[in-house]
């Protein structure tokens, strides 16, 4: 598959800032953004575009009644997971909440399997039994897909515990939202991770809102990179709309965790364009605010401009990428529409071994 995210063999070539992080200190993201070479820009563009188009299609299929229940789209936040994955190596794990479609695609999970899970069909990654919020892939080291806000933080810390136990050098990438960051178990996990020097990177996707609650209405400390200070966990605020900044920060954080120095916090400053789920009264922010983010900070548009102006790609070349991505997404939608529902006998399988 030409544009699906690839994981291995990409790290290392970017001109990342090699500043050191002192224990427990919080630094602003590096002032001069690291540059990407052409391949990196192309690869990031492909991967982000796949997520964007996939999510647009999901929204459309929801509207048609093919997807039910809750469906949380990742549109606007694509640079976060794509930049992070560029710095991982085979074996590193990913875990997140219910806004998980982008993470799964970036982990290289099959778009058909993801989409068919959204429609609740037998070819879905959880055989149709999990739905949008609950998908997993042991093969791709993706541990979910969790519907309970904050639960994945302890679970991701547990993945790191296992890595530490096995001494396998793998790192757990544990994603959660600005809203989730207020759950108690997050701090219980921080303490254990720091105490036992567990290889975990906590990625707080600060998209400014938890449902209809702006960060400032729910958080006494809105600088999420400081949330680990009392445990001595270093943290950074990162421009999560710039995939290069994400990648550079990811390299620092993953390196820190992999070399036995313990957990690391990355606050990704990002934005979700769509409603929280499909039903969202959209009264808590202005249309202007959304429009401004889309126009001035779009993560995909930034790379697109670099490809056109910096790397001198033609509009036609970009169109070709776009149509390849659309093809993959259409194939996935096609499959997810026509794949049959699970066999009724599946109701009673997978409950106990």
């Amino acid at each position: 598959m030409a544009v699906a995210a690839r994981k291995a063999g990409r790290a290392g070539s970017g001109a990342a800032n090699k500043s050191t992080s002192t224990k427990g200190q919080v630094r602003k993201a590096a002032p001069n953004t690291p540059q990407f070479d052409k391949d990196q820009d192309l690869s990031a563009y492909n991967d982000m575009l796949l997520i964007r188009r996939f999510e647009e299609k999901s929204g459309q299929m929801y509207g048609m009644g093919l997807i039910g229940g809750f469906c949380h789209l990742y549109i606007g936040q694509e640079a976060v997971v794509v930049g992070m994955q560029m710095a991982t190596r085979e074996g590193d794990q990913v875990i997140t909440g219910y806004r998980d479609h982008g993470h799964m695609l970036a982990c290289g999970m099959d778009p058909k399997g993801v989409m068919a899970e959204l429609t609740g069909r037998r070819g879905g990654l959880s055989k149709g039994k999990g739905g949008s919020m609950h998908m997993f892939s042991k093969e791709k080291h993706f541990y979910g897909g969790h519907g309970i806000v904050g639960a994945q933080v302890s679970l991701g810390t547990g993945l790191a515990f296992a890595n530490h136990y096995r001494e396998n050098g793998n790192v757990s990438l544990t994603y959660f939202g600005d809203g989730a960051a207020n759950q108690g178990q997050v701090y219980e996990s921080f303490n254990m991770a720091a105490l036992w020097k567990l290889p975990v990177v906590y990625i707080i996707e600060n998209n400014r809102y938890a449902m209809g609650t702006a960060v400032t209405r729910a958080s006494a400390q809105t600088d999420f990179s400081k949330r680990g200070v009392s445990f001595g966990i270093p943290g950074e605020q990162v421009d999560g709309m710039d995939v290069r900044a994400v990648y550079a920060a990811a390299q620092r954080a993953i390196e820190h965790a992999r070399t036995g120095k313990g957990p690391y916090i990355l606050e990704m400053q990002t934005y979700r364009y769509r409603g929280h789920s499909m039903s969202d009264p959209a009264k808590y922010r202005t249309k202007d605010e959304v429009a401004r983010m889309r126009e001035e900070h779009d993560p995909i548009e930034q790379v697109r401009r670099r490809l056109l102006e910096g790397w001198k790609l033609s509009e036609d070349e970009l169109k070709a990428i776009d149509s390849r991505v659309r093809e993959i997404v259409n194939e996935a939608a096609e499959f997810a529409t026509h794949d049959p529902e699970p066999d009724p006998s599946e109701l009673y399988t997978d409950i106990l071994l």
Binding site: G65, F70, G131, G147, V149, G179, T213, I351
Partner: protein, 483 residues
């Protein structure tokens, strides 16, 4: 090719909505992400975004149209390079608006408040012991059968309202009466409630008494219990009871046990409320019925109403109750309408079941959304000549054993209905109580109709199979009648 823009479904339970306003007009260029129109449902106003690029060739459903069914074409978009007028004329005739919303499935709506309470043979009067002495140390706390019809004085004017409105009114009335009552939870204030149950409360009572919390269930449940220790009367809303599992330690270890552990010195007059059980297509972690869980715990009262009038009367009682009360609502029922008495201060006593429908052949006991299956089944059974008596428990703990037992003494048969799991469920408890108190009256074993013994699957077909059905209730009732 011209693209139909369809009326989207924007929530799991949405079937139709109002096309409130077009933000683009015919001839406008649109690109993906542009907001085309605003639609309204009973829950919220939402935006319809363009997915494709093109020109809005024709608007098929105009501003202000009510009851537009999901998937109805509302406009036609001419694609890139396409002839706009051709696309417009290719439009299908505008679909007629969906028929008026079906009235909520409340078969006995009219009978509500009118039916006569049954007078089971031989158990009336104070000198008659209605049930045999329990064989084992028993849990029976009340010995008088309750006349639910007397809750609403004859001739009372009834107004139709949804369960959602009834709950809101109950909170507002109690907050007006008692300054110690306050509401807190996620999205209860500015957002007006994730399911709009607290709509308008912030506007009337202000942010001191309608408190938005961070997503910290364990923390704010504990904060609520601590405040209740001092005599404040918190209403703690859980966005859904699935998330109360984060907080269950404070609910059980702190709220339920402190009165006992303090030798009666201090307790927690607190209400924990929110939607419980399965909604639609939200899968295992968001679809669980906790009725049986909480009903297992001494020191709690557990309420699970079905109708709007019971929701209102019981929530008011719960707020006034000096004990911790778990108030289990149901998302599917929120939008259903029922007659509610127009009284200044209407309350329903906690711990009393209601005979929703009289019958002599079989007793069906249920509560909350389970009542929808029970009542429909009773209608089906009637066609086959079986008169089912349907009991709405309303309160799960303390359980109104007397009403159940009196009915079973009359019918000799019982079926229980709930969406929760079978093992150690509410039906299991009812069956045990009937064995303890009316064994000699039983003509058949009690049958439980429950949700299946599996986590809730996401797939539409499996979800249907996981939930109880009217047919299962009918079948069970016939089985205990040996028919």
């Amino acid at each position: 090719m011209a693209i139909d823009i369809l009326m989207p479904a924007l929530s799991p339970t949405m079937e139709q909505g109002k096309l409130a306003k077009w933000l683009k007009k015919e001839g406008d260029k649109v690109k993906p992400g542009d907001v085309l129109a605003e639609i309204e449902t009973d829950k919220a106003t939402m935006e319809v975004e363009a997915i494709d690029e093109g020109v809005l060739a024709k608007i098929l459903v105009s501003d202000g149209t009510d009851n537009v069914a999901v998937n109805t074409p509302i406009a036609v978009l001419a694609g890139e390079g396409e002839d706009v007028s051709a696309a417009a004329s290719s439009a299908r005739a505008p679909a007629a608006p969906a028929p008026e919303a079906q009235p909520a499935p409340t078969p006995d709506m009219q009978a509500e408040g009118l039916a006569q309470r049954p007078a089971p043979d031989g158990i009336q009067g104070t000198d008659v012991t209605p049930v045999a002495e329990p064989a084992a140390p028993a849990v029976i706390t009340n010995r008088t059968t309750h006349d639910a019809m007397a809750e609403i004085p004859e001739g009372t004017e009834m107004v139709t309202m949804t369960v959602r409105e009834a709950l809101r009114d109950a909170m507002a009335e109690e907050m007006r009466k008692d300054g110690n009552v306050f509401v807190m939870g996620e999205e209860v204030a500015e957002y007006q409630g994730a399911y709009k149950v607290t709509q308008g409360l912030l506007q009337e009572f202000g942010p001191k008494r309608v408190v938005d919390t961070p997503i910290t269930e364990h923390g704010f449940a504990g904060v609520g219990v601590g405040a209740a220790f001092t005599g404040l009367r918190p209403i703690v809303e859980f966005m859904t009871f699935n998330f109360a599992m984060q907080a269950i330690d404070q609910i059980i270890n702190s709220a339920a046990k402190t009165l006992y552990m303090s030798g009666g010195q201090l307790g927690a007059p607190i209400v924990f409320r929110g939607p419980n059980g399965a909604a639609a297509r939200v899968a295992a972690q968001h679809s669980q019925d906790f009725s049986a869980w909480y009903s297992n715990v001494p020191g709690l009262k557990v309420i699970a109403p079905y109708s709007a009038s019971d929701a209102k009367g019981l929530l008011k009682s719960a707020i006034r109750d000096p004990n911790p009360v778990i108030f289990l609502e149901n998302e599917i029922l929120y939008g259903q309408s029922f007659p509610v008495p127009k009284l200044d201060d209407f309350t329903v006593p906690i711990g009393k079941a209601r005979i929703h429908r009289e019958g002599k052949d079989v007793t069906i006991v249920s509560f909350s959304i389970g009542m929808t299956y029970a009542l429909k089944a009773a209608q089906e059974l009637e066609k086959e000549g079986i008169q089912a008596e349907v009991i709405d428990l309303r309160t799960i703990r303390p359980m109104d054993t007397d009403t159940i037992v009196a009915s079973v003494m009359k019918t000799g048969r019982c079926v229980t209905v709930e969406e929760g799991y079978p093992q150690s469920g509410v039906g299991a408890e009812i069956a045990a109580r009937i064995m303890e108190h009316a064994f000699d009256y039983l003509d058949a074993p009690v049958i439980r109709v429950t949700g299946k013994d599996v986590p809730m699957p996401y797939a539409a077909n499996l979800e249907k199979l996981a939930l109880p059905t009217v047919a299962e209730v009918v079948q069970a009732a016939k089985a205990v009648c040996y028919r």
